[in-house]
């Protein structure tokens, strides 16, 4: 468990920082669609950051900029104080769909994340992958192919793949939106447990979601975005004991607060 003092101290440092980031898409007609105009925000160490916003506002684009998959037109992305030029194994990402390679087994899919770990032998890599598969509850499914798994199991493979390289930051793009509620609940619990366990990756998590209750349940802080061009409508700090009960009055006050900012 993290002590309050420890996490408060770490909160002051930024793991990832976006400084005046601008980004736009060129539409079919040729006109420019400004998504972000000088947007700044930051992710602290050991923080669980939730991002909410109207649909189509560019939340997924924001995550891809954080991951280094997209380059901002102007502005800077700093990761541990240094400019982020390209994707790094220290930042991993989970997509809305599991994005597994259908021609590889579960084991091989997760192994892909360790492709650059040259000092590890194949056996060591396999051992490590198995540890993470065990962690997400997929022990015994190493040789299965993605097509043979249920949606929830596939998303667990994607989680294992995202964590196996032991990243500092995990970015999640609506990771539970394609899952049934029960599977979503158990996967949410697992991610929360992993994040709170300091000896295990990741240090910080950024999650984009449409599900406001999900965000309130997991986040330390929720950033609410506006429509294009995206600005920050408000930031809500959530100070509730974990694990949080969805039935408490306090919980609903936070949910209402987010909805107010959204509308």
């Amino acid at each position: 468990m993290k002590t309050a003092a420890n996490s408060a101290e770490k909160m002051r440092e930024h793991l990832l920082e976006l400084r005046e980031v601008s980004f736009s898409y060129v539409m079919r007609g040729g006109e420019k669609l400004q998504v972000f105009d000088k947007l700044s925000l930051s992710v602290s160490y050991a923080e669980f950051l939730g991002i909410a916003g109207p649909s189509g506002c560019g939340k997924s684009t924001l995550l891809r900029i954080m991951a280094g998959l997209l380059k901002p037109e102007s502005g800077e992305v700093l990761f541990r104080g240094k400019p982020l030029k390209e994707p790094t194994p220290r930042i991993s990402m989970m997509f809305q769909s599991p994005a597994l390679f259908p021609w590889y087994t579960v084991l091989e899919n997760v192994m892909l994340a360790l492709i650059h770990e040259k000092e590890l032998s194949r056996e060591e890599k396999e051992e490590r992958v198995k540890v993470f598969l065990d962690m997400v509850g997929l022990m015994g499914f190493e040789t299965a192919y993605p097509a043979e798994l249920s949606g929830g199991m596939r998303q667990r493979v994607a989680l294992a793949r995202a964590l196996v390289a032991q990243p500092d930051l995990l970015l999640m793009d609506e990771p539970f939106s394609n899952l049934d509620p029960l599977t979503a609940i158990s996967l949410r619990r697992e991610i929360e447990t992993l994040w709170r366990n300091q000896s295990l990756p990741p240090s910080s998590v950024v999650m984009v979601s449409h599900d406001i209750e999900e965000l309130v349940e997991l986040s330390d802080r929720i950033i609410v975005l506006t429509k294009r061009p995206v600005k920050i409508a408000g930031i809500i700090e959530i100070e509730m004991e974990r694990p949080r009960s969805r039935r408490s009055k306090e919980f609903y006050e936070y949910v209402d607060e987010v909805y107010t900012l959204l509308s």
Partner: protein
């Protein structure tokens, strides 16, 4: 100097040729929809249709041109040759479209099929709302290649000599050859430029807008954008017109076709044995009827003597050499197609320049360039084989390019992002992502390209420009076929064709089918 009359003549010839091409293209699309969808939907039909298509697409068009001509002329002496030409252009345009439709139907996501079933869509609605729209992108993507292939053989179809008799159809192929042979070089170049201009116009006004329109019929979440070109503004109205026709009313003619198809399918399903027996009987009796006019026993004798003269070792040697040529052309083709497709996928900006350029290049008939290639090879004193392989390459490479680049474009964005996240690059990226993703299309593309390659052999291994004959020194099945056509040796022609088709059938059965099976197994159920 060129006269105004000659200019008019060129334009009129172009019009005639274009009318032939358009007619056979429409036929090809209709045929592909019927056959491709039937094969994609029905297991039994698949088992019958796909092997037949495999064989048909590998039959060298020019070798059965005399037979087709003979049959169609016996139907009607004046319009017969015209129908024969359209039929032959059709056989050069149809196969890749048919395989494209089949592939599109086979690769339909399970969820979509299940959704259609759960929505209670009948066969007719499914055809109109699912199968035809799903096949549309593949059809649109294959039209440029088909057009190019049709042009490739148009030149050869319009003018043909069999023994003593010579048929000529008025068209751009005839007229350009005549210009060339009568030494009217400027006129030859003008007719070539007219073809290029007409091809570019077709691409800009029709093919590219169609492809752009087809984008929204794709199933990928991140449908790749068709590159925009500078003439966007000029072509937009036409694209919108098509958009309205297709979007509001569904595909024109879709309904009668679908009704006919579902009717046909239900009949075949219920009476498998009777229908197939009837079909075979009809085929045999109709061919017997036409062959009767030259006496069946004579005909058989001629063919048997053809086999006798060919022997056993020679045909194998010819096929072996031809296979070597086709395979080298495909390897050369792959050597540029794969890297360029990857480059286009990774650099979106290049796509906007390269893809339209290739579309136009692909549509240019290589056969019109034959005199030029012959001259270059002779001047540079290169081995004659390089000329033959170049001609085969010109007839096959675009199949490879269109199959592979369209597979590349349908790679889900997220899979590529996974590679970026884990910094999987270069050869590793090729091995883990690109190769498995393109594998089925790679095999399919090679299969179709090889079919195309066999087809080009007749013009690639032996070129006849009036008195000037240019041929490879080593044996070749295309060379043998071409010789049989010019000398009017029906027996040798049929025997050589059967040898070649037989070999292709064995190759397809033993090699390509298995390879394709393997390829789809490796890729697994694409989710």
């Amino acid at each position: 100097m060129i006269t105004a009359l000659e200019l008019l003549e060129i334009l009129a010839a172009l019009g005639y040729s274009w009318a032939r091409m358009s007619m056979s293209l429409l036929l090809s699309i209709l045929f592909s929809l019927c056959v491709g969808i039937l094969a994609g939907v029905n297991r039994l039909a698949e088992k019958i249709i796909i092997p037949i298509l495999d064989i048909l697409q590998s039959i060298p068009i020019l070798s059965f041109f005399p037979l087709a001509l003979y049959i169609f002329i016996s139907v009607h002496p004046i319009i017969g040759p015209e129908i024969a030409a359209i039929f032959l252009i059709f056989t050069s345009q149809v196969w890749n479209i048919a395989f494209g439709v089949y592939e599109a139907i086979k690769l339909l996501p399970h969820e979509i099929l299940e959704a259609a079933r759960s929505l209670g869509l009948g066969p007719l609605r499914r055809l109109r709302d699912l199968y035809i729209p799903a096949a549309f992108p593949k059809i649109a993507a294959n039209i440029p290649a088909s057009w190019a292939n049709g042009l490739y053989f148009l030149v050869a179809c319009e003018i043909i000599t069999i023994g003593e008799s010579k048929w000529k159809l008025f068209g751009i192929g005839t007229i350009s050859t005549e210009f060339m042979l009568s030494g009217k070089i400027p006129q030859f170049w003008i007719s070539l430029i007219a073809v290029v201009a007409a091809v570019i116009f077709m691409n800009l006004a029709l093919f590219i807008p169609l492809m752009r329109l087809s984008e929204r019929y794709k199933f990928e979440a991140y449908a790749a954008e068709v590159p925009r070109v500078w003439i966007e503004r000029a072509t937009k109205p036409i694209g919108e017109l098509f958009g309205r026709i297709f979007a509001d009313k569904g595909l024109p003619g879709g309904e009668p076709v679908s009704r006919f198809l579902s009717y046909l399918a239900s009949i075949i399903k219920r009476n498998k044995v009777i229908v197939s027996a009837l079909a075979i009987a009809a085929l045999i009796s109709s061919s017997a009827y036409y062959l009767n006019s030259i006496d069946v026993s004579d005909y058989l004798e001629v063919v048997i003597s053809g086999f006798g003269r060919l022997g056993l070792i020679d045909p194998l040697l010819m096929i072996g050499f031809s296979l070597l040529r086709v395979v080298s052309a495909i390897i050369i083709g792959l050597a540029w197609v794969i890297p360029v497709s990857i480059l286009i996928y990774e650099r979106r900006r290049l796509e906007k320049i390269l893809v339209p350029t290739f579309q136009v290049l692909a549509s240019l008939p290589a056969t019109l360039l034959i005199p030029l290639i012959v001259k270059l090879v002779l001047d540079a004193k290169l081995p004659l084989e390089t000329g033959a392989i170049t001609l085969i390459l010109l007839g096959t490479q675009w199949y490879l390019f269109f199959f592979i680049s369209s597979a590349m474009r349908s790679i889900p964005r997220e899979e590529e992002e996974v590679c970026k996240l884990f910094r999987i690059r270069g050869f590793k990226k090729f091995r883990h992502l690109y190769l498995p993703r393109i594998l089925p299309s790679l095999v399919m593309g090679c299969l179709v390209a090889m079919g195309g390659g066999w087809n080009t052999l007749v013009v690639a291994e032996r070129i006849v420009l009036d008195h000037f004959i240019w041929q490879v020194e080593n044996p070749g099945i295309g060379k043998a076929l071409s010789e049989a056509v010019t000398s009017g040796d029906l027996g040798l022609l049929v025997a050589a064709t059967i040898w070649m088709v037989g070999f292709i059938a064995v190759l397809n059965k033993l090699f390509w089918r298995r390879l394709y099976q393997k390829a789809t197994e490796i890729v697994g159920v694409v989710t």
